[in-house]
């Protein structure tokens, strides 16, 4: 078989996908990179060089938004990874009602972000919300979940965890299932405790799933917009603003050039944080 002339894996397989991707994603993206160098009001453009980037980096909310973006992404992806793994271990240990629990944990994934946002906005209402009424019933003080500036971002992260942990758990369940039971058998014969088994066998062998969970949740955490917009809109004030919501607000205000400059910055941030991870992921895969 001469692979050089006639590969059984022809590149034209990529063509239909590439056509759609190039036309509807790549071309607009490249165009937007150009617009980030202009003052653009949708009707006219004026080339202003790096002025938008300078202006964007001068935004008072920006530093706060950058810090929030990283906090939010690390927090949501970290907790989804840890809790997802623990839940997956629990749900593969032959529990009573295991199948039902697996289903239930996945339910929130099914609800749209707006639906979740509306529901939790009311559940977390400072005076009438069920959450605070519950706290009050057991004698605890009410909490300004979404209205306290120091808490709002973390409350949204908590909702994100609730909504997203089901997917992480599912990926982990699949990952756990691919670990051969022989390892655990051998460990048990050697007298390893369950905690030792978890640390020495489960954690290392489930690593492909961990990488998937971390990468997906980190990227979606960094780009996160819908849920924040549906609950706090970045508020109160600017206290739960993330990069994506700052960008969206520039867009809404009609500062299109500024907004695309923000997009470029967000892209760079994601690339800086995620690319090393992706490269590492590919290398380890190639090693296998």
């Amino acid at each position: 078989m001469s692979a050089r002339q006639r590969s059984p894996y022809p590149y034209w397989f990529i063509a239909p996908a590439a056509a759609i991707y190039i036309a509807l994603f790549l071309v607009p993206t490249i165009a937007s990179f150009w617009f980030s160098l202009t003052r653009w009001d949708l009707f006219t453009t004026e080339f202003i060089g790096m002025e938008n980037f300078r202006q964007f980096l001068k935004e008072p909310q920006l530093i706060n938004g950058l810090v929030n973006t990283v906090i939010y992404a690390v927090l949501t992806s970290g907790t989804k990874t840890v809790i997802g793994l623990l839940l997956a271990v629990l749900l593969t240990s032959g529990l009573y009602a295991q199948g039902f629990l697996r289903t239930v944990i996945f339910f929130p994934v099914l609800v749209s972000t707006i639906g979740v946002g509306i529901t939790f906005f009311e559940l977390m209402h400072p005076t009438k919300g069920a959450l605070n009424l519950g706290l009050a019933a057991i004698g605890l003080p009410k909490v300004g979940w979404l209205t306290s500036p120091s808490l709002a971002l973390y409350s949204v992260a908590l909702i994100d965890l609730w909504k997203g942990v089901g997917l992480a758990t599912l990926i982990y369940i699949a990952g756990l299932a691919s670990i051969s039971p022989d390892y655990y058998e051998a460990a048990r014969i050697d007298g390893a405790t369950r905690i030792q088994q978890f640390r020495r066998i489960t954690v290392p062998l489930v690593r492909p799933a961990t990488i998937t969970v971390v990468t997906l949740s980190l990227i979606s955490g960094l780009r996160s917009f819908d849920l924040i917009w549906a609950t706090t809109k970045g508020g109160p004030g600017f206290s739960s603003d993330v990069l994506a919501s700052v960008i969206y607000k520039q867009y809404q205000a009609g500062f299109y050039g500024l907004s695309t400059a923000g997009n470029v910055i967000l892209f760079l941030l994601i690339a800086v944080l995620v690319l090393p991870l992706t490269l590492w992921m590919n290398r380890t895969e190639a090693d296998q």
């Binding site: 059984p8 991707y21 993206t29 629990l90 529901t119 699949a174 992921m281």
Partner: protein, 274 residues
């Protein structure tokens, strides 16, 4: 051991029920209340059951807008997911089977697609240029463009678990590349395909920002847009708002319950190699 598992199970069941089911119970109860009772937002049993009346009212709002929205959302979801499965598998297949500089470049674009936030206005210009703006076709292609990266990644890692011997055996039998893919490889991808269908159809069915931009027009409304629209209209009618949430959540719920077993099977079969 058996008993401890039973007790642990019951405890986990209790905790998970509180955390994961209570918000749904809340949605359901709110959807069944009268306007007055719903406005207090509290977690209580409806004094009068207005479930059916609320349902009828939401469905009838603005000339049965919700029914049209169901239709549009279904068309978009089915169309986009079909293409995502087919094209995603084709790309993932070539990328996995044919390591080369070109493949690495394509893979770089796949990762970029996952990371770069889409640019709305230039995209609208392209759609207009192609005559696809405000059309369901255009919306389907947008969802394909935005969802491709995830599909390719998932298929690529799954195809790694399909033995190459199979393709080579087919090749020796004189099969053409397309036949190898379509007849030999694709059927083996069924588990991951099911996973992908579920994950993507939920994402697309629940998407609201993209239809908001690319699919304006009354006749193009999608289910999430109805929710978005009703949010302000029903501001003082939480019973109707929550009924709407309930109604738009049901289709994904059905898809999930229907495919539940296959999803886990699909992922288990090795979709998470990377």
């Amino acid at each position: 051991m058996k008993q401890r598992q039973y007790i642990n199970g019951l405890m986990a069941l209790a905790v998970a029920s509180v955390i994961f089911i209570v918000p749904f119970v809340y949605i359901f109860l709110m959807a069944a209340k009268t306007k007055q009772q719903a406005s207090t937002l509290d977690f209580s049993w409806p004094q009068e059951w207005h479930f059916w009346a609320n349902l009828v009212e939401v469905v009838q709002t603005r000339n049965y807008m919700l029914l049209l929205a169901y239709f549009n959302s279904t068309v978009i979801t089915v169309g986009a997911v079909t293409l995502l499965v087919l094209f995603g598998a084709m790309v993932g297949y070539v990328l996995q089977r044919r390591p080369s500089a070109a493949s690495r470049l394509v893979f770089g674009f796949v990762i970029a697609g996952l990371m770069i936030p889409p640019a709305v206005v230039p995209t609208i210009w392209v759609l207009q240029g192609l005559g696809l703006f405000k059309t369901l076709t255009g919306m389907i292609l947008i969802q394909v463009a935005y969802g491709l990266s995830f599909s390719v990644l998932l298929f690529r890692s799954f195809i790694a678990t399909v033995p190459r011997d199979l393709d080579e055996a087919a090749l020796i039998d004189g099969a053409k590349p397309w036949q190898i893919f379509y007849r030999v490889v694709l059927p083996l991808l069924k588990p991951v395909t099911v996973t992908l269908i579920v994950v993507q159809s939920i994402a697309i069915f629940n998407d609201f920002t993209n239809p908001l931009y690319y699919l304006p027009g009354k006749e193009n409304v999608t289910v999430q847009l109805t929710l978005f629209n009703f949010q302000s209209q029903f501001q003082s009618q939480f019973n109707l708002l929550f009924m709407n949430i309930l109604l738009v959540t049901i289709p994904p719920l059905i898809v999930f319950i229907f495919f539940n077993r296959q999803i886990v099977a699909g992922m288990t079969a090795g979709a998470v190699k990377g």
